[in-house]
Amino acid sequence: MNVHPARLLAQVDGPKAWDWDFAWEIVPDLLSALWVTVQATVVGVVLAMVLGLVFAIARRSTIRLISWPVAVFIEFVRSTPLLVQLFFLFFVLPDLGVVLSGFVAGALGLGIHYACYTSESYRAGIESVDRGQWEAAQAINLTATTTWRSVILPQAIPTVIPALGNYLVAMFKDAPLLSTITVLELVGEAKRIQAVTFRPTEAFTLAGVLFLAVSIPSAALVRYLERRFRYERA
């Protein structure tokens, strides 16, 4: 038998491995923390979807002064950890005179970080639109703006939805990093409970279950949207 001494001790005189009463007691706190996680994710997702599209279009610009800085920025963000970016937004920006709350810095960080990934998906989606579509738009003299809005994006975005959906779930799972910049989201709250009560099992197990409870329906929703937006190409 090869048992860790700490476990032996816990079995002898420590608390029960799983205490249902305690678990029920911490559920309300964990739920309100989950709500924070969801909010940060939703704000981040909206940012990532909008900014990602802006980046993708800017990167296609024939004006180098626009396309280059955007390309460099995307490369930079994709090559550095989200955690460092969050620290930068929360700890460094105040030195430059920009003070953001933990939540704002966190949601912003998530959004910008993932925008650099979604922009690549958008780019692939945009490139999947046949060149003939651009030419047809030109043959009926549409402006660049109308071409993007009425012709290209309605065809590009449905192809991007599965990828965007995957990023939504990934962002939700990355949201606990916000606990490092004072945001009491789900994992941060579980950690706080553990620190106060010395009972890690219920807190972290429930945190995991709550993540699942949101992730799985989200993934199902994404698959549904994917089917909805699919259409035959001509």
Partner: protein, 274 residues
């Protein structure tokens, strides 16, 4: 987007008398790498004239149309459409590169039908035809739709108005594409091998539409085609194009019966007796 230049046909040049050509290309050159597609091309097309361009594949026939549709910018030379410079503007008597706004204003006179239809797959036939007039000519939806229905009726697709491109046959798609181009009320229509991607039994229905257009309108038409019988029937003039140049041009009855150059003879022999 309704932009202020929506109805503008002003071209920066003084209006030209009616006798001036509708399309004029002067010393137009276009090369892709080492391959010279258009070699100092000169071409005048009169208002209402139907010009058919024939020639071997890869000779740059299509590039002529693409330059007129501003899909390829020529390396040098001057292009005029409906009395306005397409790629240039007159400034203080000097020919300078035209602005995007100017380009759109002149391009308004031209529309094109493509080999691969290029319909918008996420729009019904009606929307495909109406979107141009609504967005680029500033028409209301009602006005645009009414005209689109007429045009779709004219190409024999009254009953397909609400179908999506994927639900249509190739011939039907191409007829929608023709209606879409016509809805822009162009002075110059470009047809780029519009039957080449069609099943043989669908070619007739598309050619009938174009034939009718050629006979009933005074629209200026440039067609690239391999349908020699059709070319003979509708062309006022046939251009034989090879190696980036027009090597022979004549009315169809002349060029098809007594071609003057060896190159044209060889080409016609090859396409007519295969």
């Amino acid at each position: 987007m309704s932009e202020p230049d929506v109805e503008e046909t002003g071209t920066g040049a003084s209006p030209r008398p009616e006798a001036e050509p509708m399309v004029r290309m002067e010393q137009v050159t276009k090369a892709f790498g080492d391959f010279v597609c258009l070699d100092r091309l000169d071409l005048d097309v009169k208002t209402g004239e139907k010009v058919v361009i024939i020639g071997p594949s890869g000779s740059g026939k299509t590039t002529i149309l693409r330059v007129l549709m501003t899909l390829e910018r020529p390396d040098s030379g001057v292009v005029e459409v409906a009395g306005g410079y397409l790629y240039h503007q007159l400034r203080d008597g000097q020919l300078v590169k035209g602005s995007e706004k100017h380009l759109r204003a002149v391009r308004r006179n031209v529309s094109m039908v493509f080999q691969h239809f290029n319909l918008f797959p996420h729009m019904t036939a009606l929307r495909n035809v109406s979107i141009g007039p609504m967005k680029a000519l500033g028409r209301s939806k009602e006005q645009a739709d009414e005209r689109s229905r007429e045009l779709l009726g004219m190409v024999g697709l009254d009953d397909k108005v609400h179908q999506y491109p994927a639900q249509l046959s190739g011939g039907q798609k191409q007829r929608v594409a023709i209606a879409r181009a016509l809805a822009m009320e162009p002075k110059v229509m470009l047809f780029d091998e519009i039957t080449s991607a069609l099943d043989p039994e669908l070619v007739g229905e598309v050619l009938n539409v174009v034939r009718q257009l050629a006979h009933t309108t005074d629209m200026t038409m440039l067609l690239v085609t391999h349908e020699m019988g059709f070319a003979r029937e509708i062309a006022d003039r046939v251009l034989m194009f090879a190696g980036g140049r027009i090597i022979e041009q004549a009315p169809p009855e002349e060029i098809f019966t007594e071609p003057k150059t060896e190159r044209t003879k060889a080409f016609l022999k090859a396409v007519l007796h295969h």
